[in-house]
């Protein structure tokens, strides 16, 4: 049984194709604003990698920010549930997941392999990939460099304000005071780690903690977070695909439940045209530079 999970994030599309519990393909592609409608092309790449045709897929679960109108998906599941599922499958001991995406940041609690609690911030850039992109630009370095560079600092600079505009100003004024770039970068990572930690602790952090999303690829941020957490941290080998992986696993469960004849009917109605999932109002709303909108459950 072939199943796919497609995770359409704000900046990156991730696809995992699995045969029961065996991963056949995983694809990660940038899907900036202009490329968002190309989800089906990314899927074609993944299918090629897996050596499958579109008609081979028994069940497809879409997740992520852009999950809503993926025309070829059979079900939509939130990225919160999918990350939880993907990470649990990789390491069943994980209780707390910190997912740092391009536009948002989430804390997810797992209990007995099920979603127990979550909290998310998607209104404030602090603690998200967007923030680091802006700061890297200010520091005049590549996004990939900012983390490793910060690790060379012996004396992190004080950064007091994480509102993007102010942080930019503050970073600039530290630089003009002659503070080394590495120290400014380290200060920025520290301040962001504090912010993320402050949010996630609302759902009661328990070990093992996993870090996923683009943030997990930033060694400086992981280091600062670990400093705050004082707990062992698990970083999946492919931290970007845990959502898509979870979606593929859930697709597998759903396919098993639906069974043969039902799946055949599903396939017949699948549409492989371009996705149109970003309504202008929703995109604008997510970009509003107001207070962070926190929520949590328990």
């Amino acid at each position: 049984m072939f199943c796919a999970g497609i995770d359409i994030g704000s900046t990156i599309t991730k696809i995992v194709i699995a045969n029961r519990n065996e991963v056949l393909a995983s694809v990660v592609q940038r899907t900036g604003a202009q490329h968002r409608r190309r989800a089906h092309r990314v899927m074609e790449d993944a299918l090629t990698q897996a050596g499958l045709a579109t008609s081979d897929l028994d069940y497809i679960v879409a997740t992520g920010y852009g999950r809503i109108n993926v025309p070829f998906a059979d079900a939509q599941i939130t990225e919160i549930t999918c990350h939880m599922r993907g990470v649990s499958w990789l390491d069943p001991d994980v209780r707390t997941i910190i997912d740092i995406g391009g536009q948002d940041c989430k804390g997810i609690k797992v209990k007995d392999g099920r979603l127990d609690d979550f909290i998310m911030n998607d209104k404030c850039a602090a603690g998200t990939g967007r923030f680091f992109e802006i700061i890297a630009k200010v520091l005049g370095i590549d996004l990939e460099e900012i983390g490793p560079l910060s690790l060379t600092s012996k004396n992190p600079a004080e950064i007091s304000n994480l509102c993007t505009v102010f942080a930019e100003q503050e970073a600039l004024s530290r630089l003009s005071e002659g503070v080394p770039i590495a120290d400014v970068a380290a200060g920025i990572h520290r301040a962001n780690a504090s912010r993320i930690y402050g949010m996630v602790r609302k759902i009661k952090i328990e070990e093992t903690v996993a870090i996923t999303g683009g943030g997990a690829k930033n060694s400086g941020l992981c280091h600062s977070l670990q400093e705050r957490l004082q707990l062992p941290v698990f970083i999946p080998p492919e931290p970007l695909i845990t959502g898509a992986l979870g979606a593929a696993l859930i697709a597998g469960e759903k396919a098993a439940r639906v069974g043969g004849p039902g799946l055949a009917a599903l396939k017949k109605h699948r549409r492989w045209d371009a996705a149109t999932f970003f309504s202008d109002s929703a995109t604008q709303a997510a970009m509003q530079p107001t207070n962070s909108q926190h929520s949590h459950m328990g």
């Binding site: 990225e79 599922r85 979603l115 328990g298």
Partner: protein, 386 residues
């Protein structure tokens, strides 16, 4: 008004969409219209004088522009919105305004409202913070002053029989609202949260008799139509009010049917009838101080945290049981202190009785709603057992 069985909900939606329309018509007919803040002013006194009470609400869909010079953004954003509408003359048909010390936001905004938006008659109702015996006496005296203010303004005395009749009419309204709530007990509920919101805001925007006719029409309609709603997770909403259907629509398209709203537009004004006491003001003051259950009123602490929580939130357990609730959404309009301080307590209490709680501090703006969808869907998935 003429009624047809199948038009109740449509009419409610119309009135909801054009909240001031009926009031303006009545005003043209020479009737008096009063605006009031929150669910504490005793509107029975207004009805007894043939004044139509109109609940002052905000509009999540309207950007706040005029209120900025008076209420800074860190103030209650619902109050900012309501005042903004006032400054934009959307409530300019009021003959009177009744402010109330429901909470800091309502109290201060009521003062500022009276300072800048002039109505011929004004009253500021001081609502005690406790239900102590002396507080009840004091509150009754406050209501008596309110009555005198109204009588002076209208140039007529309220006849006790008229007041009793007004109480009966409003009690009838409360009973009809509760009956409608009862129709949300089946699965799927016969009335959606969006429909309920439209009906309740409609009855707060028209005279009580018309509201009662509307409620009756809605009840007839929903009990006879083919139920259009599908079974979903059953949600109780606790906390700050919701006064825009865009919000309930978002929730109900994210895996939930809203079945109870313990808010100032939901159950709170309607759950208890005013007792017909020899002096009608006794029943009125008891109802508004003791029986409107908003955490703005301090109820005595019990001997322990647990006992205190039980005493304060036991009614939520009853709601959960009778409406077969699967989960609770704690809705906090940002900067609502009254509900904000309760968040950890309400979570402790509801989790202990097996109910998951989704807490969201939101910005009271339709533009900021869509990003909340993931939270509701993830909450639904967690109830699904994912």
């Amino acid at each position: 008004m003429e009624e047809q069985n199948n038009t109740g909900l449509r009419r409610a939606a119309e009135i909801y969409r054009h909240r001031g329309l009926r009031a303006r018509q009545l005003k043209e007919e020479g009737k008096k219209i009063f605006g009031y803040f929150c669910c504490y002013p005793p509107i029975e006194l207004l009805t007894a004088l043939d004044i139509t009470p109109i609940r002052v609400l905000g509009n999540m869909d309207e950007p706040v522009t005029e209120a900025d010079d008076y209420l800074p953004p860190v103030m209650c954003i619902f109050c900012r919105s309501a005042f903004d509408l006032g400054m934009k003359a959307q409530y300019n048909y009021f003959d009177g305004f009744v402010g109330a010390h429901a909470c800091d936001g309502a109290e201060r905004t009521s003062f500022i409202w009276q300072n800048y938006i002039h109505s011929p008659c004004n009253f500021q109702l001081d609502v005690p913070h406790t239900a102590h015996g002396p507080a009840l006496t004091f509150f009754k005296e406050q209501i008596a002053l309110f009555q005198k203010t109204l009588e002076t303004f209208c140039g007529t005395q309220i006849h006790p029989d008229d007041l009793r009749q007004a109480i009966a009419l409003h009690n009838r309204q409360r009973a009809l609202v509760r009956e409608l709530y009862g129709l949300r007990k089946p699965n799927p509920p016969l009335v959606s949260g969006t429909e309920m919101l439209q009906v309740l805001i409609a009855v707060m925007s028209i005279p009580v008799t018309e509201g009662n006719d509307l409620l009756q029409a809605v009840i007839n309609e929903v009990t006879t139509r083919a139920n259009p709603h599908a079974p979903k997770h059953r949600l109780l909403i606790w906390g700050s009010l919701i006064d825009h259907a865009a919000f309930t629509e978002l929730i109900e398209s994210s895996g939930f049917n809203i079945v109870v709203e313990d808010t100032a537009i939901g159950t709170r004004p309607f759950w208890h009838d005013i007792e017909m006491t020899a002096d009608p003001l006794d029943g009125i003051s008891d109802h508004y101080l003791n029986e409107v259950l908003c955490p703005r009123t301090f109820r005595e602490t019990g001997p322990s945290y647990q006992a205190d929580s039980d005493a304060r939130f036991n009614y939520l357990k009853e709601f959960a049981k009778h409406w077969n609730v699967d989960g609770v959404f704690a809705n906090i309009i940002r900067n609502c202190d009254i509900h904000g301080y309760e968040v950890p307590v309400i979570k402790d209490y509801l989790n202990a009785i097996g109910l998951p709680v989704l807490v969201i501090e939101q910005d009271y703006s339709t533009a900021a709603l869509e990003p909340l969808r993931t939270r509701f869907e993830a909450f639904a998935e967690s109830i699904d057992g994912y």
